[in-house]
Symmetry: C2
Subunit: 116 residues, 2 copies
DNA sequence: CGGGATCCGTCTTGATACTG
DNA sequence: CAGTATCAAGACGGATCCCG
């Protein structure tokens, strides 16, 4: 998605991974709503399209934030789960959530927040 | 830049404001490096181009995160400063910085960090 | 000289249709 | 169900121009 920035800035490099319109929403769906399957991500109200979702899941896997596994031996169902590194983004999601709730009217806490 | 999402999710709505490749870098430059002028933002190593920078500054102003003022009465120099609302993003920048420093090799703390 | 606006070629994104 | 192919629309990078 994002080219490397030729800069050692931690903000810049982190944004190479999650600084786009969709990536953090996929992570939100995994982290707060426990979503794990392709179709579940498609159901979110923001309406990500299939090619973008496939692309972001692949980039997240390449970045080591998500691991992809077959649901079972005899199924093509795939399972996407956060790795430990992916889970480590929870404070980032949390502070973004809190900022939005405080400063943006018309936002509200998600229906099934599983945040710690 | 980002269309509204028709979703009350605070993550989603916050990303409408800062969920792109450049916006948080401009805010970083203001917040950590004290930059205030157009030309100073252009000097950052990521190399934002003039049209993109002008666009992001305008969007930030419209969002109430930045205020633009003439440097003095008899100069066209402009001054971009974070509003209180913009300053309130400091915890977001901070947690992103910390995540990058911890999880991304080859990142290092900025030269003149003014973060609290 | 500082702060943009405009134009243009390229790259990325995204909606939709389609496939195994 | 989980993607891939296609193709149009938009975002971006860079140069140039403009205006006070």
């Amino acid at each position: 998605m994002n080219q490397p920035r030729r800069s050692p800035c931690p903000v810049s490099c982190t944004l190479d991974l999650i600084g786009d319109r969709w990536t953090l929403l996929v992570i939100r769906d995994m982290m707060f709503f426990g979503k794990q399957r392709f179709e579940e991500f498609l159901e979110s109200p923001e309406g990500i399209s299939t090619n973008i979702l496939a692309n972001r899941l692949r980039l997240l896997e390449e970045a080591g934030l998500v691991k992809k596994q077959p649901y079972s031996n005899h199924s093509r169902r795939m399972n996407y789960q956060l790795t430990e590194k992916g889970e480590s983004l929870r404070p980032v999601l949390k502070v973004i959530t809190l900022w939005g709730l405080k400063h943006l009217p018309d936002t509200q806490t998600p229906d099934r927040p599983q945040s710690s």
